[in-house]
């Protein structure tokens, strides 16, 4: 324990002088990096607009209120599309994520040396790219529309679901698997009776959790042309129809809250 001696008195210190110095320089470096970053941001900012911001915000607020409630009749179909993008995307993703997860889990992969790294690469690369970017790419490939949105959401969700699922598979109780194996079960029977019942609650939880996230993400996919309510949002923004924008934002907020409520209820029922 580092102790400082001063005037024959011993004072307890938490760190030695060296440790304190290292920490001090660490903090200095951190602050310096932050200041540098802030300067870069500040350099590419038009400060006149920032000082003008309160007036602009007020202006937008007065334009956006009250929301154009009549417009809601035209939002039924986009909301239905958004729901479809999220739900179908989640279902496709789950179908693809299950094999990937089994290939990636250390205790079920057929080959830890060759197949596991490939499965992990699939998980990381699909997970680290946002669904909007996948949508951009798919629109260039298969054309704008709901279908591109479904595929974008599906690809983005594979990595997420597979990661959570393979962690659940790695955490299973091994004695149950051994018991099934001891009865002379084949590899598939071990899967079906030893592993699947243990991960089924986790699987259902992941599915609902991801569906909730996908509802949020699919509301904005339309901004790049991939269908759903985002199309209406971007159209309204382009013509500066602020009362419509505020109504769409309210609808999105309500949709997100409902999906969060549903997902919380279902997960509560499972666990």
């Amino acid at each position: 324990m580092p102790i400082l001696e001063r005037d024959d008195a011993q004072i307890w210190r938490r760190r030695t002088t060296g440790q304190s110095l290292v920490r001090w320089f660490g903090w200095l470096l951190g602050v310096a990096i932050f200041v540098y970053c802030w300067q870069l941001i500040s350099k590419s900012t038009t400060w006149f607009f920032v000082w003008d911001a309160p007036r602009i915000a007020n202006d937008i607020w007065t334009r956006a209120t009250p929301p154009k409630w009549g417009y809601i009749t035209q939002l039924g179909r986009p909301i239905w599309d958004t729901l479809n993008i999220a739900t179908l995307g989640t279902i496709i993703a789950l179908f693809l994520a299950v094999p990937v997860a089994f290939l990636a889990a250390r205790n079920t992969t057929p080959s830890a040396l060759f197949i596991r790294p490939i499965a992990l690469l699939v998980i990381v690369s699909t997970r680290s790219i946002n669904s909007l970017i996948w949508a951009l790419l798919l629109i260039a490939i298969i054309g704008p529309g709901v279908f591109a949105g479904v595929i974008a959401i599906a690809i983005r969700s594979i990595g997420f679901c597979a990661k959570l699922l393979y962690e659940a598979i790695e955490e299973i109780d091994h004695t149950q698997v051994e018991a099934i194996t001891a009865t002379g079960a084949s590899r598939w029977q071990v899967m079906a009776y030893g592993i699947v019942p243990q991960i089924l609650p986790a699987f259902a939880g992941i599915a609902v959790f991801r569906w909730d996230i996908n509802i949020r993400e699919s509301t904005v996919l339309g901004l790049v042309g991939a269908g759903g309510i985002g199309l209406q949002l971007s159209a309204s923004l382009n013509v500066l129809a602020w009362p419509q924008v505020s109504l769409i934002l309210i609808v999105i907020l309500v949709a997100v809250m409902i999906s969060e409520w549903v997902s919380a209820k279902v997960r509560g029922a499972i666990i």
Partner: protein, 271 residues
């Protein structure tokens, strides 16, 4: 003697218990699900001719990953990437700093009811609005550039981190905090010695995770003009320069992987 005959002799054979016990609920859910699927598929219009035409382009994009072009647009890529990183760092620092007091206020066991309600309100608003929608509004208010992106990411960080921090504080061990209080500590000392040591490992882990998310999100903010690599990526897609787009995506995946690896090391050290 077959299995069936043996079952008949011995009584009813064992069957796997169903995941949903109530048969009525099970069949209703299944039927409803299929009805929904049929309805959803009917409303999705897929232009298979267009998809078929696009397959060539899709294949060209996959091929581009084998020969990514880092060089010809390197200055654009670099400035976009630097802006993304700068926004991530600055927004993470500011977001974490703000979310700590809000997280303290949103924990029911240490905050009085009025403060609790205010902080929970802030968290709920921040979580309900997606990054991209906040970015659209902030770009309209503050003008194009990384400042809007920085504010968006900070705002999103607050909702995420405060909520999880507050939940961790609510789940903490009361005995330690009480012991500090019994020694006559004032409120700041109580927080510093009774609460902070208990939640610090999780706070560090969550902060690292949030930095990771912030970087991923900063890659799409450019689509709506809030700075970062997204604008460069969008341009690359629009011009069908798949090799440049592939290079950007590889860089994003690489940085996300590096961040995940780093956060894994840091989390393992603090826990």
């Amino acid at each position: 003697m077959s299995h069936r005959e043996l079952d008949d002799m011995l009584g009813k054979g064992w069957r796997k218990p169903a995941f949903i016990k109530n048969p009525f609920l099970r069949w209703a859910l299944l039927l409803g699900f299929f009805a929904y699927l049929v309805a959803a598929f009917k409303t999705i219009e897929v232009d298979w001719g267009r998809v078929y035409e696009g397959l060539d382009r899709g294949w060209a994009f996959v091929l581009a990953f084998t020969s990514p072009d880092f060089i010809s647009r390197w200055s654009d890529i670099w400035s976009g990437l630097l802006e993304s990183i700068v926004m991530t760092v600055a927004a993470s620092v500011v977001g974490i700093l703000i979310s700590i007091p809000i997280g303290l206020g949103a924990a029911r066991n240490i905050a009085p009811l009025p403060i609790y309600m205010i902080c929970r309100g802030i968290v709920a608003i921040s979580r309900a609005l997606q990054e991209i929608i906040v970015a659209i509004l902030l770009v309209a208010i503050f003008g194009f550039g990384p400042l809007a992106g920085f504010l968006t990411l900070s705002f999103a960080t607050i909702g995420f981190l405060s909520k999880l921090l507050a939940e961790d504080i609510e789940a903490m061990d009361k005995v330690q905090a009480e012991a500090i209080k019994a020694s006559g500590a004032r409120w700041p000392q109580w927080i510093n010695y009774g609460v902070q040591p208990q939640v610090m490992p999780r706070l560090v882990g969550l902060s690292m995770y949030r930095i990771d998310i912030n970087f991923r999100e900063s890659a799409i903010l450019g689509l709506v003009g809030a700075g970062g690599i997204g604008a460069t990526l969008n341009t690359a897609f629009d011009r069908y320069e798949y090799d440049t787009a592939a290079a950007i995506l590889i860089l994003i995946i690489g940085i996300v992987m590096a961040l995940e690896y780093l956060s894994g090391i840091i989390r393992a050290r603090v826990q």
